[in-house]
Amino acid sequence: MAHSAVGVIFSNIHDENIPELSKHRTMASIPFGGRYRLIDFALSNMVNSGITTVGIVTKYNYQSLIDHLGSGKDWDLARKDGGIILLPPYSDETDVPYTNRLEALKGITGFLRHRNEEYVVISDCDGIARVDIDDLLGFHEKNGAEITMVYHEEEGAIGSSYYMTLSPDETGRVKSIKINPTLKGKNNVYVNIMVMTREFLINVIQDATVRGLSSFGKDILTKHVDTLKVYGYRFGGYYAGVNSIQKYYQHSMELLDKNVRSELFGARDIYTKVRDSAPSKYIDGAIVKNSLISDGCIVEGTVENCILFRGVKVGKGSVIKNSIIMQDTVIGTGVTLDCVITDKNVVIRDRRHLAGCTELPYFIAKGRML
């Protein structure tokens, strides 16, 4: 890659948007698209742009994330120098774990100082997009920016409890940044990916600590947008912001569209944890239409407009429609499901009938037996 950069991924930010799926895990480890976790998209963007060191900031509930990442080898990030570096909260006796992004960054200054890459790419996990980070860094460099924020155009209201909109001029220079404004029409919504030099970031953190600032968005970006050289990088590709269970459902279903799939998965690989599952089997009598099926599934019933994660079993005579069935869920015989999301390891016994609607899919928590 043309630029030397280190990645920083926030694994817990915006967890509160999607409590159903983040109750027992980080935002980063929310399953998505049949065999991925949300972090796979942010990580793969970095790896595909040649980044070989990624610090992952965690706060709580990160066992599933550690399990997913392992040594980092599945992302080619098991390295002697760098690779995946987990950054759990650092606190001494008097401190509590961080409560905002600035404190979290303060907690990782040691990591930032020890690296020698020129740039830092900071990303959250709740956006799914194919961002060319090398191109982003080129844009940042060309403009002599101090901070470059990635945005995309989005129509109407945002489901999230916290979002920013940018107003860049024709050169890309951001003139104003608003937090949680009321939205009408098209807006330039920040997608939670920004870059700056490592040195600049360390200075910002130090300065903020000295002055007792607490919010990166409120105290730094919005207040100092006039004096800082903040640029906006327009991302024009497919973007899925996962900020509620409804959006999660909607964006998952968008994967059934060939164009969305080829944009997300084509051209470059999305890396994920390898599980050595056997290929999926379709038994005589199975009917599968418009569905994504991951490995290790055994389908004997009818599956329509669904996403099946790894190791799902659908018994004879069952009809599963418009549903997202996560890893190792076992569905018995004669079951009907419509607009249902099952978390991992759910068991649905014979002849159960469940339905939600597309606006409010019926959610079944991890490990439940019905």
């Binding site: 065999r35 290929p279 999926s280 418009n290 099926i293």
Partner: protein
């Protein structure tokens, strides 16, 4: 101090050309041939090793080793990347005094004596890379120790009429072997050697040295080393194996073995949670089955895009079956594209083949014309037809 020793070292003979697989082994060694939608033949002995607690494996390659070497890599997919032990590719090499290709199975092992000796093993397990099976070698090793044998040969009962294709073991009631016949015309028993041997290491080294000194030896286990041991009165035992075991050395047996994976109660189960088959995994999204698709009794790997009809078939990663295309009773390997209206019936198609629109490959099984085979990286022109039993390894425009 850590004891620098391994109780048992496995040596996997993977040099076979597999000439009876024709176009499928034009550029790759037989153990690297794809099987069961995501595996390669060598995944089975390697997975058996690690599942049996054997973590030191020498893989002896000779014929077209490039793809096999790349596939095995550092052994990580099989958990065989170890600082002491692990999987090692053993190719023929040039030594100070001489250089030579592997001449026979015994010579191949002999040439890698120093590799085995580095681990100071008590036992050596000899394997071949041409069979599909799940076997706990640890149980066989236990039997070898219990009988106090110098050599234990895994054996399976085969139909009597096929017995003359195998090395046949004639045994006493206690399982000890009194006679060994290599491909006998008139077999006395149907107990066939599976080509899996456990030797007490010292004896193996002694007989390999001796065999090298015999000028007229063909340097083969079945023909030379095992008969020599038997003649000398060494203790040789059979170890009965019951279960699925299939030589996939021919087009027909490779096809059959793939079909054995299908159904809810398959003859051979690769999804066995208690005996995982490890492999290098394709990087691909889940497969997509479209509205227009019909999929029946099939196994389909990641990354496939199915818009057409798939019946009784095994499809490897990233295979595309377009709208109106039919794939029936076939094995399709990774990256192959079956275009609109094309028909593939009773065929094996290797990797990255394009079957263009309305082409027809193969003939229905009932017509007894045999399995049509397409070698890798070729293109069959639209509208062209390939008769059943034909083997094509170049771009094909029809006759």
């Amino acid at each position: 101090m850590i004891q620098r020793k391994k109780e048992c070292v496995a040596m996997l003979l993977a040099g076979g050309q597999g000439s009876r697989l024709y176009a499928l082994t034009n550029n790759i060694a037989k153990p690297a041939v794809a099987f069961g939608a995501k595996y390669r033949i060598i995944d089975f002995p390697l997975s058996n090793c690690i599942n049996s607690g054997i973590d030191t494996v020498g893989v002896l390659t000779q014929y077209e080793p490039l793809e096999l070497n790349e596939y095995i890599g550092n052994g990580q997919p099989w958990d065989l990347d170890r600082s002491f032990g692990g999987v090692h590719i053993l190719s023929p090499y040039q030594a100070k005094k001489k250089s030579s290709w592997y001449e026979g199975t015994a010579n191949a092992i002999y040439q890698n004596m120093h590799f085995m000796q580095k681990y100071n093993p008590d036992y050596v397990l000899i394997l071949s890379g041409d069979h599909i099976y799940k076997m706990d070698y640890a149980k066989m090793l236990r039997a070898h120790k219990e009988t106090g044998a110098d050599c234990t040969i895994a054996a399976i009962e085969v139909p009597m009429k096929e017995a003359s294709r195998f090395g046949i073991l004639n045994t006493n009631p206690d399982g000890s072997i009194y006679e060994f016949e290599e491909k006998p015309k008139q077999p006395k028993s149907n107990l066939a050697s599976m080509g899996i041997y456990i030797f007490t290491a010292k004896k193996l080294f002694q007989y390999l040295e001796a065999d090298e000194k015999k000028p007229d030896s063909s340097k083969d286990f079945g023909k030379d080393v095992l008969p020599a041991m038997l003649n000398a009165g060494e203790k040789m035992f059979s170890y009965r194996f019951k279960g699925y075991w299939k030589d996939v050395g021919t087009i027909a047996s490779l096809w059959e073995s793939n079909m054995d994976l299908l159904g809810s109660d398959p003859a051979f189960d690769v999804a066995d949670a208690d005996w995982k088959i490890h492999s290098r995994n394709p990087l691909a999204p889940p497969e997509y089955i479209a509205d227009t698709a019909s999929v029946n009794n099939s196994m389909i790997a990641l990354g496939c895009e199915i818009d057409g009809t798939v019946e009784n078939s095994v499809l490897a990663a990233n295979v595309v079956v377009e709208k109106g295309a039919l794939v029936k009773d076939s094995v399709i390997m990774a990256g192959t594209v079956i275009r609109r209206g094309a028909k593939v019936v009773y065929a094996i198609i290797d990797e990255n083949v394009t079957v263009e629109e309305n082409a027809a490959i193969g003939q229905d099984k009932k017509e007894n014309a045999g399995i049509a085979v397409l070698g890798r990286d070729i293109r069959v022109k639209s509208g062209a037809s390939v008769a059943g039993g034909k083997i094509i390894d170049k771009d094909y425009e029809g006759e």
